[in-house]
């Protein structure tokens, strides 16, 4: 089932195209791994998908009732977040924010769902812990749990394993793999770790750095 169609999509900043035109079809249950050199435009591409950066040319069509808010996002971590006073629970729950609209606080159902998601990602027991006191791998899983609360259809991850040790990296991959295989969640992931990331991915998108790209289906 088609979910996202990029048609002659051109991406960039300030009307300057850095990549494109791209023609890509993303289907339900896909696992895309985006690779390429620093500055090739990977982050720009997913920011465009997320509607954070305006499209320069072409179009992105969301199909089959997929809405913009159905796309969850795990951003590249920012340094200041490391010491932010927030508990795991508070951060994960904030994923529901786009669903509460005029209600101002989270309801019982959402709190339960946040709990289940935390357990699913193997960070149960850490709910009350401060985000800053967690290891890098645990922090990433907290952010992934938040993304899952925001969306259970498509998850976009920007370098989820950056800065993780080999063990934590493997754990992160297996969590992502499980989401993709068991829950049929579409995964779009940027990674510099070509060797391991590509083992799980079903589709590869490589940005060559000169505005060209190659797609490989496995």
């Amino acid at each position: 089932m088609e979910q996202i169609i990029c048609k002659n999509l051109e991406i960039g900043y300030d009307r300057k195209v850095i990549m494109g035109p791209l023609n890509i079809i993303i289907n339900e249950g896909d696992y895309w791994c985006i690779t390429g050199a620093n500055g090739a435009g990977k982050t720009t591409f997913i920011k465009t998908l997320l509607n954070l950066t305006p499209i320069i040319g072409g179009a992105i069509n969301l199909q089959n009732e997929l809405k913009q808010i159905d796309i969850g996002y795990l951003p590249q971590q920012k340094p200041y977040q490391k010491n932010f006073p927030a508990s795991v629970e508070e951060i994960v729950r904030s994923g529901f924010l786009n669903k509460i609209n005029i209600r101002f606080y989270y309801n019982h159902h959402e709190k339960e769902l946040a709990k289940t998601t935390i357990t699913k990602l193997g960070i149960a027991g850490l709910e009350k812990r401060a985000y800053g006191s967690l290891s890098g791998g645990q922090q990433q899983r907290v952010l992934l749990a938040r993304a899952l609360c925001a969306s259970s259809k498509v998850i976009i991850l920007d370098e989820p394993i950056a800065g993780l040790d080999p063990v934590a990296t493997q754990e992160m991959y297996s969590v992502i793999r499980k989401l993709n295989q068991e829950e049929n969640i579409t995964i779009i992931m940027i990674s510099h770790d070509i060797l391991h990331a590509t083992a799980d991915a079903k589709q590869m998108l490589h940005f060559d750095g000169n505005g060209k790209y190659t797609i490989t289906h496995k």
């Binding site: 951003p75 932010f84 927030a86 508990s87 951060i91 925001a150």
Partner: protein, 278 residues
């Protein structure tokens, strides 16, 4: 001493000072957490200097109620600054410093040239350091301050979760469809209001202490957002109430006393947190 305190508390101007002090400091305590975490604390500082400049204009115009001028102008400047803050270039900080120093100089200059008051030095001093102004609030001032504080507190309670998300991770909030610009605007407006009313309490130069100290003190002890917000609000109320009472009893300047109380509570909490960690 309690007899003396009871005697002073029977005066309406002291009661006004306490009511306004508690409400305003609750606002500044809540808001401080956001501003410190968003790294906007220096914007609060700059805004208070701008507000001083505007207040000087109001003084020269012999306005009975200078808040009617200072609040709107400061809101506009705050919106411009915070809107710019999200994609700020290197020059942003320098521009802010120029703006704040410029408004201070401008304010002092026009007061000296145009003001008709016989005690210019006293007026300037109280605008900068709060001196005695909190004890001379008109009932109109009190009404405005109370109304504004209540609005700020309500907004904070209603939008608590949105404010948390926009503060923790603006990119994520935006990606999930939250109108982050709207909330940044809201934060800018609240900041301006709180700064202008807090200026009555501690003066333009000391306002940022009211915003920064409770938040930073609360963060040394707690690492969960809701606790930090609550403790920051409580600390801020305690600092102001204690500061006002001490200043009445020992006839010290109100603003400076409140700030010194804040410094003291900060160090007490810091030591407490070090003891707990051991």
């Amino acid at each position: 001493m309690f007899e003396l305190l009871k005697y002073y508390l029977s005066f309406s101007f002291v009661q006004y000072a306490l009511i306004v002090g508690v409400l305003v400091s609750l606002c500044s305590g809540l808001l401080g957490v956001i501003l410190v975490l968003k790294r906007f604390a220096y914007i609060g500082d700059g805004l208070s200097h701008v507000a001083f400049g505007v207040m000087s204009v109001a003084m020269c115009l012999n306005m009975v109620d200078n808040m009617l001028l200072t609040i709107p102008v400061t809101i506009i400047v705050a919106i411009l600054l915070i809107k710019d803050g999200s994609n700020r270039k290197l020059t942003g900080d320098t521009a802010l410093a120029m703006l704040s120093v410029g408004s201070m100089a401008f304010g002092y200059l026009i007061i000296n040239v145009f003001a008709t008051s016989s005690n210019i030095a006293g007026d300037v001093c109280s605008a900068l350091f709060g001196a005695t102004s909190i004890l001379t609030l008109s009932s109109q001032d009190v009404k405005i301050s109370v109304a504004m504080s209540l609005i700020v507190i309500c907004i904070f309670i209603i939008y608590y979760n949105k404010i948390f998300t926009v503060t923790f991770d603006e990119t994520f909030a935006k990606a999930t469809g939250i109108k982050t610009d709207k909330y940044n605007l809201l934060i800018a407006v609240i900041t301006a209001i709180v700064i202008v009313i807090a200026m009555n309490l501690v003066g333009a130069l000391l306002v940022s202490a009211l915003i920064i100290f409770p938040a930073v003190s609360a963060m040394t002890l707690f690492h969960q957002f809701n606790y930090v917000v609550i403790l920051s609000g409580c600390l801020s109320i305690f600092n102001s109430a204690a500061g006002i009472i001490i200043s009445i009893l020992f006839s010290t300047p109100v603003g400076a006393t409140i700030v010194m109380t804040s410094v003291a509570t900060f160090f007490i909490l810091k030591i407490l947190s070090l003891l707990i960690k051991r």
